[in-house]
């Protein structure tokens, strides 16, 4: 499996197909289980790199269930991304972090809702707001590759639409996006290319159009 620079790629499959696991492997979370295979990012082998280094190299993950810090305020949640950029993790650092992503102002422009809630504790935000915060946080990082794990999960239709357009805009700005979704139709709206996963194996790889045309795969693996 590979993702090209600048494209929007989507990873589809049923529950438990292994989508989240794939993203987590890339991000380096709980990586020692990777038994076979390599993960390369821009020619660097990151299979065994520590989580924090992978993040520093420009791979951002918006994980399932959002994982914002409920005990911190919205502002603090966003600030943490800035802190992360300037934080030196070891005395002799092998990876240097590039320029940051968006500033807080830019993020607030993107999601005006968050500015209104700047001082609210993130745990008390609505689901949609939390999702925005999670995406905003990833945008603030220096991310070349943004990985989104079911970003529409639990969101109301109009919020989905605004999240969707945010993703679209990010994609347009030249960032690479890897989107994981159960909802194949929604994903294919913005994807250039798609992979379909089942029981941990890639069963389909190709352009979004191609998948749309492939009744059988859709029927069998996506239930559509």
């Amino acid at each position: 499996m590979h993702v090209k620079e600048g494209e929007v790629c989507t990873l589809l499959g049923r529950n438990g197909a292994g989508k989240t696991t794939t993203l987590r492997c890339i991000a380096g979370a709980r990586p020692p289980d990777v038994r076979d295979g390599r993960i390369r990012f821009r020619d660097d082998d990151i299979t065994a790199a520590p989580t924090e280094d992978i993040s520093s190299m420009g791979i951002g993950l918006v994980p399932e269930e959002r994982r914002i810090f409920p005990n911190l305020s919205v502002e603090e949640n966003l600030h943490l991304a800035d802190v992360a950029r300037n934080w030196s993790n070891s005395v002799r650092r092998s990876v240097t972090m590039g320029e940051g992503g968006m500033t807080t102002e830019e993020v607030y422009e993107e999601f005006p809702r968050l500015e209104e809630r700047a001082d609210q504790r993130a745990g008390t935000l609505s689901g949609g707001e939390q999702q925005m915060l999670a995406i905003a946080r990833a945008l603030k990082q220096h991310t070349d590759l943004l990985m989104l794990d079911e970003p529409y999960e639990g969101l109301a239709p109009q919020i989905i639409r605004s999240v969707e357009s945010a993703i679209q805009r990010i994609a347009d700005s030249g960032k690479t996006i890897l989107l994981v979704e159960q909802n194949a139709v929604a994903a294919m709206n913005i994807a250039d290319r798609a992979y379909v996963l089942d029981q941990g194996e890639v069963v389909f790889a190709g352009g979004a159009e191609e998948l749309r045309a492939d009744e059988e795969t859709r029927e069998q693996y996506l239930g559509v």
């Binding site: 520590p50 924090e52 810090f69 600030h79 943490l80 991304a81 992360a84 934080w87 993790n89």
Partner: protein, 323 residues
């Protein structure tokens, strides 16, 4: 003596009694809240702080123990009390670093019970090591004039100068730690890590160093407590454990991980104690007078803890998720 002055006196006594517990409990609580590490050896850090302070400040004559047997009748650097106050926190901070690196880290993933047991064992080792080296006797922690004797306070009368200083030092340290945790990037990372360490790493921050530093800060607080608290009593090998038990009560009363909780818990314990000992109860006709409530002062502290835990199991300022 007016009732007001009386109450003021009791308040001050309660505050000073609680101050040392606050310092010890704050470190204990931070370590338990952020690192989820149960440290029964925290009292040993108090002990180390006390002995280190004693040996830095004074020259001490030993009358038994292994050192004395091997000819070291007097030990200590004799650099003065001020030097001790400055050097001890640094020294115990370093011990905290080592403890995190070589002990706690190996036990983060093991059950609570193992953490309790291994640190309990360590506390015994520390206590016995001091007993073996310096003997079991209590050593007087002599101080220079400016840290000794009484000051005259309006309304209250004579009050030990050093106890007043301990209250002030505690207040300053509480404030510093509070600012550090609430208003610095470091504090932000630690607070975030408390809830979701993996996500912090996904953002690109390795938590190893913030954790080790946080642990060492907690340790240093216990060390400070040792060097400022021991002069109020005497230095002997069992003071560590004796301080730990009430400090744990303060932590659970206040709520794990909460600085505010440690402060309120410590003050509460100090106040209950001072009230049971002091005048207010005795001057109330029905319950005072005939019965000496002072005999109940220790019982009162434990009863308070039990009561609060039963009514509010997560402690006064604790959040439910921690346990």
């Amino acid at each position: 003596m007016s009732l007001f002055a009386d109450l003021l006196g009791v308040f001050l006594n309660g505050l000073q009694a609680g101050a040392i517990y606050i310092l010890v409990a704050m470190g204990l609580s931070i370590i338990l809240g952020t690192l989820k590490f149960v440290n029964f050896a925290h009292g040993a850090l108090y002990l180390i702080g006390a002995y280190a302070g004693l040996l830095i400040a004074n020259e001490v004559r030993l009358s038994n123990g292994l050192l004395q047997q091997y000819g070291y009748e007097t030990v200590g650097l004799d650099l003065g009390f001020l030097a001790a106050l400055i050097l001890v926190p640094v020294f115990v901070f370093v011990i905290g670093l080592l403890m995190e690196r070589y002990l706690a880290r190996a036990f983060y993933d093991r059950p609570d019970i193992d953490q309790i047991l291994v640190t309990f064992g360590l506390a015994i080792i520390a206590q016995e090591a001091f007993r073996v080296l310096f003997g079991g006797q209590s050593i007087n922690f002599a101080r220079p004039g400016w840290a000794r004797g009484p000051v005259m306070l309006p309304a209250i009368g004579n009050f030990p100068r050093w106890r007043l200083a301990v209250i002030a030092i505690t207040a300053v340290l509480v404030l510093l730690v509070y600012l550090l945790v609430e208003y610095t990037d470091f504090g932000l990372i630690v607070r975030a890590g408390t809830r979701d360490p993996e996500m912090v790493e996904l953002l690109g921050i390795k938590l190893t160093r913030p954790y080790i530093v946080m642990f060492a800060i907690g340790a240093a607080l216990a060390g400070v407590a040792g060097v400022v608290g021991a002069p109020l009593e005497n230095v002997n090998p069992s003071i560590g454990m004796e301080t730990l038990v009430p400090a744990f009560l303060v932590v659970v009363i206040g709520g794990v991980g909460s600085i505010r909780g440690a402060v309120v818990g410590g003050v509460l314990v100090g106040m209950v104690y001072a009230i049971l000992v002091g005048a207010p109860l005795a001057s109330i006709p029905v319950i005072g007078g005939a019965i000496s409530w002072s005999a109940w002062s220790q019982v009162g502290i434990y009863a308070l803890a039990a009561l609060i835990l039963l009514l509010r199991p997560e402690g006064l300022f604790g959040s439910e998720e921690v346990s």
